[in-house]
Amino acid sequence: MKTFETDVIVIGGGATGTGTLRDCTLRGMKGILIEKNDIASGTTGRNHGLLHSGARYAVKDLESASECISENKILKKIAWHCIEDTGGLFVTLPEDDPAYHNMLMEGCSYAGIDVDEISINKALEIEPNLNPNILYALKVPDGTIDPFRLSAANILDSMERGSKVFTHTDVTSLILANGRVTGVRCYDKASHEEFEVYGKIVVNASGVWGQQVCESAGIELKMFPSKGSMVIIDYRINNVVVNRCRIPSDGDIIVPGDTVSLIGTTSRKIDYDRIEELVVDDDEIEVLLEDGEKLIPNVKKTRVLRAYCGVRPLVAISGEMEGRDISRGIVLIDHNERDGVEGLITIAGGKLMTYRLMAQMTTDLVGKKLGVKKKCTTHKVPLPGSEKRIPHQKKIKHFSGISNSVVGSTHYRHGERVHNILSKDKKNYGLICECEMVTAGEVEYAIKHLNVKDIVDLRRRTRVGMGPCQGELCSYRAAGLFTEYGDKDGTESTRLLTEFLEERWKGIKPVFWGDAMREIEFTYWIYQGLFGLGNIENNKGEPDR
């Protein structure tokens, strides 16, 4: 069996895990991160991508609000290519309690969030699609953040500085010696090989799945999962984040993101044993669309692209099943102190917005245990892609000859790394996905440098298949490119294609009407009618008579 040795083992490739790997690496420690699926494929990639100003917490949770605004400012500097500084609005509908408006303003000023009361006309100027019947409007420094890019950039930086990453690899158990965690046993799901990693410390950053990781060391850490569903609508119908000015509830936010807009979110408690089989319920879709329409009436006329859900992990610190010990904030556990098991730290709770802070807190503890004195620099050192900020116009000039939309999209997604992707070779900038302007060069870069193992991973790194057609043509093209740029043969690439289309289908089922239904009929005609893709698994072969 293969074994690896390192300083820090991080379990979980979400924002917190990837951020922790980077922080450790920047402080001179070597790390190995193990992720059971793909980077940002769990809770991290399943939220609405809001770059919080903190205003949403300003009334009920001032601590979170302050954390958010402070991280908001940092991320805008170190990760600008993952962020759109759109600004946000809080609007009060006629049916909402007008008192909340003042409470929010007050809370914001306590937390240090710049908030401006603006006229309704001004609000409509900023966001013309807004419901014109609103009573009040507030402007806050909300924005949008792409969790896939953010996590991938953290990984890229860590790898370039010498750390290692294994994706699509399960941690089957923790290795214990003399009451101390010394490593992890792993199973590579692609090669079906088992291996072991030994390290000085193990960081459990696997979110809601952290309960299982702890169990394997005999530690009880109860998670209380809650499901949040979102609906993606085709076309970007708003340019700034639109929040409803009331106590946070279902369907009260519309976030623009890349080429689409997103209505969030519901909140439903679920049983822990159901976390792997989450589906969006029909009534959630109804609530989200109905409430979304109240904020932006155009929602009704717009095609719904897909729906998805994520699971928020709430942690019970002392192992109690219920009560005040369930924390909604950041939870950092030294299992030596809590359970007498040395060598294991759990970082959980928190939110995407505070991933960097969580990583910093974790790495501080790791540093203390390993005697590493170096201070955190992640609030200053930009992520790969965000090194220099050069305006789009300049980039477009630099790559003259390549269409502006291609340069613009690639720069938007990869920041300065656009220079590692685009070249003036016609093949390089030939489009693979027209909806999202993804080129063959970007696919090549993602497969070779961004830990992409399948088309679903490729979607998270490049947006292939995320647009209106949901991968109708580009998924076949991308499958073909895996034989060229990846280590896949034609048969394996075909399997990736099937898996990708099945994965896309999961998010389309809940919104199966109208144009989504038309699109699916077309996709089914092509992949089953024209290509016979569904027959491949039992490719028995029939004699030609």
Partner: protein
């Protein structure tokens, strides 16, 4: 404007019906809102490819009796076996006049190879996909080269070669993938890596290019007997291009349908439209029928987007507007309707009933079955439940069949069109 027959929808079904009508001397107009499903078809005509269990049907003409017995409301049951056979023969004869020659396997099904290297049973194929030579060629376990044109995104020979090789039948064949470069790609302003099938088809259609391309294909194919290439051999005169290429290379040149647009399907579209127009049919393109007036169970006239208040009238009408994708049916949050006349449709309430849990479910998806429920003469019922006496529905708008799971799309489109046309012709002659 008054016609004997107005056909709403200009796909394979509407065109086939139109051709039959004009040949019998009827005045006939087809109103078409745009490109049809032929543009993403395989270009082969399926009649009946799979049983309900998913087993391949080899002899569809023999199987159809049993099939009709167990599928009483299927469109084939309404047409009857003879009508199905006659209609396919009619179709084959018609397009042959326009240089699109179709072959069947002595009235049995044959297989065609897809872009993913799977085999699909079908009934009629164009000469570059199936003929005597192809059949005998395969029998000798030839080596097969699957060749693409460098930069063409919509066909990946490695996928076809590797899956085909995995098929039991082809296990001991030598199958390999190759790529050739077309010099035309160097002198174009457009990025050749973004060419669609149609751009390359236009290059391959030109006489001056064919000798050079033939020698490139021959070189790439090495010792192979078969050269499988993406179906790009021109639209208007493909048969000549195909023959010439075979002659120059000494290879069997085999066309494989690509991602849309389908050149194989466009050949059929082009041939049918030309035949219809040459015979005196009126093809109104780019207009959409939005409503119709029904009086005493008779459709008196229809309104279109472009004609505004003026209307079109005919003695008889055919509705061949296709399924959801083509706009023949429209689904809402929890209901489905037929947008032109509000015809009665057959489907269950509750959209979670409309689909299967897996995308590639062996049972396909229930929604593919949905459509207009007609009487035995293909006449639909209006929203009051009354049968409209002079309106016939044909092709993919019909209920009670699954074109993909059954492998019956082309056959149903053609046979129902032919059946409707025959009834209209009879009535006009009365």
């Amino acid at each position: 404007m008054n016609y004997d027959c107005i056909i709403i929808g200009g796909g394979i079904s509407g065109l086939t019906a139109g051709i039959k009508c004009v040949h019998e001397g009827l005045s006939c107009a087809i109103i078409s809102s745009g490109m049809s499903a032929l543009h993403f078809s395989s270009g082969s005509i399926d009649m009946l490819g799979y049983t309900d269990n998913g087993d391949v049907i080899y002899e569809p003409h023999k199987y159809i009796d049993e099939f009709i017995d167990s599928h009483k409301s299927h469109p084939y049951a309404k047409c009857g076996r003879d009508m199905v056979a006659d209609s396919l023969q009619f179709f084959q004869d018609q397009v042959a006049n326009r240089n699109v020659e179709f072959f069947h396997n002595n009235s049995s099904n044959h297989f065609h190879v897809t872009a993913l290297g799977t085999l699909k049973p079908t009934y009629l194929s164009q000469r570059s996909v199936f003929n005597e030579k192809v059949r005998n060629g395969f029998a000798n376990k030839p080596s097969i080269a699957i060749i693409n044109f460098e930069g063409f995104r919509d066909f990946h020979p490695e996928l076809a070669a590797s899956n085909l090789k995995r098929n039991q039948l082809f296990n001991d064949f030598e199958i390999f993938a190759r790529t050739i470069q077309l010099s035309e790609f160097n002198n174009t302003n457009k990025n050749p890596h973004e060419f669609r099938s149609i751009d390359i088809a236009r290059i391959l259609e030109k006489d001056k290019n064919i000798e050079r391309i033939a020698s490139q294909i021959k070189e790439a194919a090495g010792n192979a007997l078969f050269a499988g290439i993406p179906a790009l051999l021109g639209i208007h005169d493909s048969e000549r291009v195909h023959r010439k290429l075979e002659e120059l290379t000494g290879l069997i040149i085999y066309e494989i349908p690509t991602l849309p647009p389908s050149i194989l399907g466009m050949r059929i579209d082009d041939a049918l439209k030309t035949i219809f127009a040459d015979a005196g049919g009126v093809f109104i393109a780019g207009d959409k029928v939005i409503s119709g007036e029904i009086d005493n169970n008779i459709l008196t006239h229809i309104h279109t987007q472009n004609y505004g208040k003026a209307h079109l009238t005919a003695h008889h009408y055919i509705l061949s507007t296709g399924s959801f994708f083509s706009g023949g049916m429209v689904s809402e949050f929890d209901s489905i309707h037929e947008p032109v006349f509000g015809l009665q449709l057959d489907y269950p309430k509750g959209r979670s009933n409309w689909y299967s849990q897996n995308f590639f479910d062996r049972k396909s998806h229930p929604f593919l079955h949905y459509g207009v429920d007609t009487d035995n003469n293909l006449r639909p019922r209006d929203k009051n439940g009354d049968t409209i006496q002079n309106l016939y529905c044909t092709g993919a708008i019909l209920a009670n069949y699954d074109p993909i799971r059954e492998g019956s799309g082309g056959g149903v489109a053609i046979s129902t069109a032919y059946f409707a046309a025959r009834q209209i012709i009879e009535k006009c002659k009365e």
